[in-house]
């Protein structure tokens, strides 16, 4: 098992280099350079002197392979460089101040999705074609088809403007500093409710469908028949024998969703004015802030590779067949 994990880890290194190289190339090929954008392209102030100075400072005057090599060398020392934005702050610091809120939002969202999707999926699978199944099917299609931004605006209009129950945007009230402790906590939480509801809605639809599908396949298996034939109560058949097996594909999907935890949803963050990773990335792209874009990509792709690894490893832990098959295929 350990050898397998190590081997996978080794393969991940060239993969990561490949990903960063292609990304680096693509980003630099996009028209518009940070030096040009900052000197206000096509504006009276577009000062060639300043442009050259910035290009030199950012190292953009060097050939692309050299730029990439310098970037990799710095990355080797875990130095993600300084942002090209005029605040010139370290990339890690910028990511660091945006990451917590995005992580929090997405982790809570994921927990809610799993907590709701599993029972919904199981129930609609075990009671296929029941009213509950039909309702959830409709719900799922609505969930798939509803654009995030539209739902978000509708909810804001209802709960923020008409009823005035929840704050509309941001993370804290204007006078948050002056609130007593418990009110501060509630204020912060109340700002997260709408974004989490919106983000959960779309994800829930997909997840409950996967769960239903997986469960439907499992309940048709022979061992479930066997369990029933032994006279086990239905609860044990479904809860113990069927569910465990039905969860296997869900583990994979969950693993693959892990990188999404740090990615941040651009739409939800923009509409609710949440200063998270999604907004940071969008702004970086508009400013052609290469170090921030690349820093973000490294974090996300490393996590993706790790999550794949973790998913495969846990998969083999929970499913003995994979371990055996793996051993045999090596011969």
């Amino acid at each position: 098992m350990l050898g397998y994990a190590l081997r996978r880890l080794l393969i991940a290194v060239p993969l990561l280099i490949g990903i960063t190289f292609v990304s680096f190339l693509v980003i630099h090929l996009a028209p518009g350079e940070p030096a040009e954008i900052q000197t206000g392209d096509l504006s009276i102030q577009s000062d060639r002197q300043m442009r050259e100075r910035l290009r030199e400072e950012y190292g953009l005057d060097k050939p692309l392979p050299v730029q990439y090599w310098n970037w990799v060398r710095r990355l080797g020392r875990l130095d993600f460089g300084k942002s090209f934005s005029p605040d010139a702050r370290p990339v890690l610091q910028k990511i660091g101040e945006r990451l917590p809120v995005t992580l929090l939002l997405n982790a809570v969202e994921m927990l809610i999705i799993v907590a709701l999707a599993v029972p919904i999926g199981v129930t609609s699978a075990t009671r296929q074609h029941s009213t509950f199944d039909k309702i959830t099917t409709v719900f799922v299609f609505v969930g798939f088809a509803t654009p995030d931004f539209w739902l978000a605006l509708l909810l804001i209009m209802l709960f923020g403007v008409q009823l005035d129950w929840l704050p509309i945007s941001g993370l804290r009230h204007i006078n948050w500093e002056y609130f007593p402790f418990w009110r501060q906590q509630w204020d912060f939480l109340s700002h997260l409710i709408l974004p989490i509801v919106v983000a959960t809605f779309g994800g829930l639809a997909g997840f409950s469908r996967y769960m239903r599908q997986s469960m439907l396949e499992v309940v048709r298996q022979d061992y479930v028949q066997t369990a029933r034939a032994k006279g086990l109560p239905e609860g044990v058949v479904i809860g113990k024998h069927a569910l465990r097996n039905a969860l296997l594909p869900i583990v994979t999907i969950l693993g693959l969703s892990l990188p999404g935890l740090v990615g941040g949803s651009v739409i939800v963050e923009s509409i609710f004015a949440i200063p998270g990773m999604g907004q940071l990335m969008v702004q970086a792209v508009f400013e052609r802030d290469y170090p921030v874009i690349m820093g973000n990509l490294v974090v996300v792709s490393t996590l993706t590779l790790l999550a794949n690894l973790v998913a495969d490893v846990t998969y083999s832990l929970v499913d003995p067949r994979i371990r055996v098959a793996g051993r045999r295929s090596r011969r």
């Binding site: 900052q38 002197q49 605040d87 204007i174 609710f272 907004q279 052609r288």
Partner: protein, 550 residues
């Protein structure tokens, strides 16, 4: 102080929306009830929405409009614009030009202190000048300072500036934010102003507000400066909330989560016309500082013919265009200056909507309709590509109307919408375009040398339509070479006549700025400069104050 920001930010804006600053108050617009029955009072918080994160706190080395807006409350220039857009003293008490316009002597105010308590002196102005011309300083606003030969401080309250040649923008140059030498000198000398801690927190200015807090992507908080040399401003705290989505800002406005925002034409006309909104906000309307135009590549032989351009000007119904695109909330443009400013002249050649005249002019230029009604010359149909940038719905609509209007004439227009950076790099700079819908943001000085002068046609320069007219060149040169406004007026009046005759571009319209401000805020005086010119005098009467903390 606002106007400093405007001058720098809105000089020439091509991309997105234009900051709403400056402008003539519309007499027909809704205005606050004049009855300021309540006494001015200190206190309350004013909440503003910014669509973008600020990028720093030393605006001299930044280029985004959000940073300018915040910076304009933290810093002062030596001079500023009053409500009628005239230059008046800010940190300067008075000034004098020598007879030859080469020497400018400014006398500075004596009671001014930096936010850290140190006195402000002429040496700080000299420092700012040195910083701006230092090639290591990453600033985009060096241009105006290049005309300065020397700037010295013979005593702490006198600044003596010598110019290389008479320069029209000599005085305006000193609207630049003045920076403190005692805090920033080491960073400025090293070319590291952007890395200076004052660019991230606790900037030291002389302005009416002091820095309190900046949470990136979330908010910037300023508090009133009790020692401000013009007296403490009434509003105690200013919170800039960063809200990227315009739709969210509008909903926040409805829920009273922000106190001020700019409206779109649709919101102004349709979505804010109900009693609760009218009670909570006052709406303002005045022409903005940017115009939209239809530009041609004058290297293209078809457009090089002036009669063709004049014909196209006759074929576009500007009034209908304004009605359709921005709900009538704009003014027809006849030239590059905003109606109501000192350089603008209304007496230029007009191009009323007249299809018959358009056809006649085109026929004169050799374009005759064929059997299918298409205009043809030398066997080739009149067909061109009209480009504009992505993400600007207004320009897209303008392009569509132009397309429909010209179709009536027998000209086929194909619209192409391209991402901004690509449009700029691949098409405009390489001159690979036939016609464009774009906009120019205009400055407060009428000098537009860089846009119209025939020497400014290099790839990176602004005369990308390749306009060349010897008379225009001469007028631009003369207009910028003198320091007395009255003497300059005649050059710019003639310039507008020539441009109207030539139609190097078809000037379409100036869009109105449509800000709303919470009705609890009193003391707002709409003027040609807009509403922000007396921000430090805005107040909320005690009984209407909403935020008592802070």
């Amino acid at each position: 102080m606002r106007l400093t920001a405007c001058r720098l930010a809105a000089w020439l804006v091509l991309a997105g929306a234009v900051a709403a600053c400056g402008g003539r108050a519309d007499s027909a617009a809704e205005q606050p009830s004049g009855a300021e029955s309540s006494q001015p009072a200190y206190g309350d918080t004013f909440i503003e929405a910014l669509t973008g994160n600020i990028s720093g706190l030393i605006p001299n080395v930044l280029s985004d409009s959000a940073s300018f807006e915040v910076g304009s409350l933290l810093y002062n220039g030596l001079v500023m614009r009053d409500k009628n857009l005239n230059l008046v003293g800010d940190l300067a008490e008075s000034w004098k030009f020598s007879k030859d316009c080469l020497d400018l002597t400014l006398t500075l105010k004596r009671n001014v202190r930096w936010h850290d308590g140190r006195p402000f002196t002429a040496d700080d102005a000299v420092f700012t000048y040195e910083t701006m011309i230092n090639p290591k300083t990453p600033t985009a606003y060096r241009e105006d300072f290049k005309a300065v030969a020397s700037a010295v401080a013979p005593d702490p309250y006198t600044l003596r500036v010598r110019y290389k040649e008479p320069y029209a923008k000599a005085l305006q140059t000193w609207e630049t934010w003045i920076l403190p030498r005692h805090v920033l000198e080491e960073y400025a000398l090293a070319g590291k102003l952007r890395e200076a801690p004052q660019n991230r927190a606790d900037p030291v200015g002389t302005g009416p507000y002091r820095f309190r807090e900046w949470r990136p992507g979330e908010k910037v908080v300023l508090v009133a400066n009790p020692d401000y040399f013009e007296g403490r401003p009434y509003l105690s705290r200013i919170v800039y909330r960063i809200i990227p989505s315009q739709a969210t800002i509008f909903l926040e406005l409805k829920a009273k989560g922000v106190d001020s925002a700019g409206l779109t034409a649709l919101q102004y006309n349709r979505q804010t016309d109900y009693p609760a909104f009218r009670k909570a906000y006052h709406k303002y309307r005045y022409p903005g500082n940017a115009y939209t135009y239809l530009g041609f590549n004058l290297k293209d032989p078809r457009f090089a013919d002036r009669r063709v351009r004049q014909a196209l000007a006759h074929a576009i119904d500007k009034r209908q265009l304004i009605e359709f695109v921005i709900g009538g909330l704009g003014r027809e443009a006849t030239g590059p200056y905003k109606p109501g400013t000192w350089a603008h002249t209304p007496s230029v050649k007009q191009y009323p909507y007249d299809m018959a005249k358009a056809r006649a002019l085109l026929a004169e230029a050799g374009w005759k309709p064929n059997s299918e009604g298409m205009l043809v010359k030398d066997g080739r149909p009149f067909q061109f590509e009209l480009m504009t940038n992505q993400g600007n719905d207004e320009r897209k609509k303008v392009a569509e109307i132009v397309q429909a209007s010209l179709k009536e004439l027998g000209i086929q227009v194909d619209i192409r919408i391209i991402e901004w950076a690509a449009l700029l790099k691949e098409y405009i700079k390489k001159r690979r375009f036939e016609a464009l819908i774009l906009g120019w943001g205009i400055g407060l000085d009428p000098d537009q040398f860089n846009i119209w002068h025939s020497s400014k046609t290099a790839p990176d320069e602004l005369n990308f339509i390749s306009y060349a007219n010897p008379e225009v060149d001469r007028l631009l040169e003369d207009g910028r070479r003198w320091c007395i406004q009255e003497d300059r007026t005649k050059y710019y009046a003639r310039l507008q006549e020539v441009l109207a005759e030539d139609q190097p571009i078809i000037f379409l319209y100036f869009r109105d700025a449509l800000p709303v401000v919470s009705s609890r805020v009193k003391g707002i005086v709409p003027a040609p400069a807009g509403i922000r010119h007396n921000f430090t005098e805005w107040f909320v009467p005690k009984r209407l104050q909403r935020y008592t903390a802070g």
